[in-house]
């Protein structure tokens, strides 16, 4: 039972780590700020989500799980808001908030 859960954790964490790798490659390779923004936020938020998912198989009790999920949701909310605003600043002729 616990072995199965461990395998699931390893799979999800590896997938999450892969998305962090993808995000960084995107950052290094994409030409302008908007593309980099896209690479960064999509990949890293998904990476964090997968890592949270992987760790959910390890925690004990619903409260600890709830905390992990809220960490992810908070990061998503902050990421979504800030990305919007950065994009507005970075776009040629765009006006910030």
């Amino acid at each position: 039972m616990s072995l199965g859960l461990d395998v699931l954790t390893i799979l999800a964490v590896c997938a999450g780590a892969f998305f962090f790798l993808a995000g960084t490659v995107g950052l290094l390779r994409f030409p302008d700020a908007l593309c980099r923004l896209h690479a960064l936020t999509k990949a890293d938020n998904l990476g964090l989500g997968l890592i949270v998912l992987g760790l959910l198989f390890q925690v004990e009790g619903p409260f600890a799980a709830l905390k992990l999920i809220s960490v992810w949701l908070l990061t998503l909310l902050a990421g979504a808001t800030v990305t919007q605003l950065i994009a507005r600043t970075a776009r040629p002729g765009g006006t910030p908030e």
Partner: protein, 311 residues
């Protein structure tokens, strides 16, 4: 071990960046990153209480404060950059600083074995406080005088900042006024974040007696949420001359001091708690103290009054 080496190198790299960056904005970003990495280091050093404080104050609120200051000072940057001292002075400074670092490194390498520790004494006496978190026990019981004076230091710093207000806005509203944009993304995010943040703050406060957490961390989160609401224009700071505000600011230290004095009658010493009531008394101190510290921290970030009070 490999992880620790990597983390230490990363911390040093970000620190070097913070010092050498040409642009002040980049340096401030570097400093926020530095604080976040230090929080990881504190977890590695088995100090989750410190990690919480570092994440909240060291990185978060200090970062916000420095960013705000940089916004005002941006135009002065090019003028000041011309005042860089000469190469000889810089070299001398580098040699001096290298010597300081080498001396400290030698001390770290020559620390006595076995390491002196007060942990057994804390473990032996923690039961009398009724608390489960040794760090909170140290802050609120064994070194309570430190903590009391620390809250006074915070108030003194706030008085110092308020006294920098020009005469015409004396006792007025701190900081600029922000207009809320009801359709704005920021407003929406703040409306979601602030209640969650307050909930997290209460949680951190409440678990502080048995697990990592406590009044300073909780107060910082509450303060940050208030500043966030103020930044997007959901709330405005009250004029600093309001009586209720001043009562709020001193309530925590005053209750702390009063219970400390009562210690003479109840347990024979200043800030001594009679064992059966220790936990109750500590909680009685902590609740107003958290609110006072939160208000003080928020107003420290808001700065001196900038707008005259309306009559």
């Amino acid at each position: 071990m490999a992880f620790d080496t990597g983390l230490a190198v990363l911390v040093l790299g970000v620190a070097v960046w913070t010092i050498t960056a040409r642009d002040t904005f980049a340096a401030v970003v570097g400093f926020v990153a530095f604080g976040l990495l230090l929080a990881l280091v504190w977890v590695r050093l088995a100090a989750p209480d410190v990690a919480l404080t570092e994440a909240a104050i060291g990185s978060g609120v200090t970062g916000g404060l420095l960013l705000g200051a940089h916004t005002h000072l941006r135009r002065t940057e090019t003028a000041a950059a011309g005042e860089l001292p000469g190469a000889a002075l810089r070299l001398a400074a580098a040699v001096l600083c290298a010597m300081v670092s080498a001396g400290l490194a030698a001390i770290v390498l020559l620390l006595p074995e076995p390491a002196p520790t007060l942990a057994p004494q804390v473990a032996a006496n923690i039961a009398t406080t009724g608390l489960g978190n040794p760090v909170t026990a140290v802050l609120m019981a064994y070194r309570a005088v430190d903590t009391l004076l620390e809250t006074v230091v915070l108030l003194l710093a706030l008085l110092g900042i308020w006294s920098l207000a020009p005469d015409r806005v004396w006792g007025g509203f701190p900081g600029p006024h922000h207009d809320a944009d009801p359709q704005g993304v920021l407003t929406f995010a703040a409306q979601l974040l602030v209640p969650v943040g307050i909930l997290v703050g209460v949680h951190i406060f409440w678990v502080g007696s048995v697990a990592p957490g406590g009044e300073f961390q909780a107060a910082t989160i509450l303060a940050a949420m208030w500043i966030l609401a103020a930044m997007v224009g959901l709330v405005d700071a009250p004029p600093v001359s309001r009586r209720w505000l001043r009562i709020l600011l001193v309530a925590g230290p005053a209750v702390f001091f009063a219970i400390g004095l009562a210690g003479f009658a109840m347990a024979g010493a200043f800030l001594a708690y009679p064992p059966p009531y220790a936990k109750l008394l500590i909680l009685t101190i902590e609740i107003p103290l958290t609110l006072s510290i939160a208000a003080t921290l928020a107003l420290l970030v808001a700065g001196p009054p900038e707008r005259a009070p309306q009559r």
